[in-house]
Symmetry: C2
Subunit: 160 residues, 2 copies
DNA sequence: CTCAAACCTGATGGATCCAGTCGGAAATCA
DNA sequence: TGATTTCCGACTGGATCCATCAGGTTTGAG
């Protein structure tokens, strides 16, 4: 760890590997806020952007991905807004993050059908990346939106 | 623009979240190659760069991180090169990748001691990111370099 | 019908960081 | 001494991504 002085540079998200972008962060915060505020009527984007202190125009574009994935429903017009397409306890966080960030692919050789790497079969390293990918998916899918939307309750993790 | 692919340009890694950079890829390939070629004498960087078809100058800078982390030993001068600092079955891939890519931090609020996020305690989402981080670390540490250096043997995964 | 609120789309700029190169200094062996 | 190889710092070009803005479309309320 000799180079590890970190230099304290700002720029969020600068440090660390295996990182999600702000798309993932903002999108998740939107979903949690929506789950808390959704009492049947659509909740406007402007309202959520204010509560969570997020840039409205940018959030608009992020939420589009969630809508296309069928995770939220939108209602246009006056008094329109967004609603959960399913109950919060049926929304897996893995689905949310895959919609926001695209497929979980720790290394290029796993992209698509795996045809990117010519050494398939003779390459033992691909086992490592596959396992990482599956672990991340499992971790994300072990949470539902309901787990995160309830503020006080500590989460009961299954397994370990 | 940017059309020219020649001289083996690498511009991959475009797609997917939670991705490692080429630092991680090249570094791991270096380690696997070194484990196979290490018979007691130091192996020169140039030799490995040729076998794995990696840019030598860039690899040089990557291997510096492995050296600083105490994962490989270097010998300077003529007939110098690199050796494993420990037997391959005692080298966890998590150590290798942390040395190459820095800490595994899926979201900015987990950086350092966690002081980056002011809502610590009241934020339930941090549980999700923590779990992802731990899952990745576990997956990486469940492999040793020896698992990857043996070419033919398929890896016996514990669990699942 | 008219108006306003909200959603939707596309284009655009700026900052950051990655990937790769280059040249030279220090160290070791023959 | 001279050849070989690691080591170190600086530099650059390009890609990616965050974020914003403007304009258009749809819908519901009065």
């Amino acid at each position: 760890m000799s180079g590890g002085e970190e230099s304290g540079t700002r720029g969020l998200h600068g440090t660390g590997a295996v990182a999600f972008s702000t798309r993932g962060e903002y999108g998740v915060r939107f979903m949690v806020a929506l789950a808390r505020m959704d009492h049947g009527n659509p909740v406007s984007l402007t309202e959520i952007a204010e509560v969570e202190d997020l840039p409205r125009a940018y959030l608009e574009q992020i939420v589009g991905s969630l809508r296309d994935a069928g995770i939220v429903d939108s209602a246009r017009g006056a008094h329109g807004g967004y609603r959960l397409a399913r109950p919060a306890n049926e929304v897996r966080m893995g689905d949310v993050l895959r919609a926001l960030e695209g497929p979980i692919v720790p290394m290029a050789c796993l992209e698509g059908d795996g045809s990117a790497c010519s050494k398939t079969g003779s390459c033992s390293v691909v086992q490592l990346w596959s396992r990482v990918r599956d672990s991340v998916s499992e971790a994300l899918d072990s949470f539902t939106l309901a787990d995160l939307a309830v503020p006080g309750a500590p989460i009961t993790l299954k397994g370990r």
